[in-house]
Symmetry: C2
Subunit: 116 residues, 2 copies
């Protein structure tokens, strides 16, 4: 997975932080399907995800309306219910407005003005 | 690592997404030290981190001023420079205002109104 290419702010982010229950129980297949579904939604800008015990998935959207529509997507509603019932021990969702961003792209380089 | 216990919104989040270069090169020790430093900063509310190829660290703060102060912290400035020079192939930082949140705490349970 790569760093999401998002447009200039403002835009919106949904930070989904979770702790899983034991076993897969159909989670991996559903998680993959949900990324595919989300990417087809209007207003979807990108997604970033990592799990290391704690799981963090951040999806990016053009508006709060797009986030609300994705939350009500029928396939997503099924996944949300299964998440509550089976896959997650605990989770937290934070809806955010991205105010500004900056980045470093490309390989590391010596900083200007520093002795080499 | 656990899900950060944050107060009622609004508050602020810094989403730091990164791809590392090869090798540790002192990264792990510095990353650990930076979490300790950040937690002592005024306005720090919590931190969540996971790496799975892509690394995602989200730190939570009470204000943009607290985020700006942490960015200028002297130990953190050293780490930022080393990050640009050595540790990161690529990174993106997004500064966000958390507008609302919700969570599921405790173990999974059958949903009310659903047949058992």
């Amino acid at each position: 997975m790569s760093i999401a290419s998002t447009p200039a702010p403002p835009y919106y982010a949904v930070i989904f932080t979770s702790l899983r229950t034991d076993g897969d129980n159909g989670y991996s297949a559903m998680a993959e399907a949900m990324v595919t579904h989300a990417a087809r939604q209007p207003g979807f800008l990108g997604i970033e995800s990592a799990r290391e015990g704690l799981g963090i998935t951040v999806s990016y959207w053009d508006s709060l309306d797009s986030i609300a529509a994705w939350k009500q997507n029928s396939a997503h509603l099924v996944a949300q219910q299964r998440g509550r019932d089976v896959w997650y021990e605990q989770f937290k969702v934070r809806i955010c407005r991205v105010e500004r961003d900056y980045e470093m792209t490309g390989p590391p380089q010596a900083s200007p003005g520093q002795p080499l």
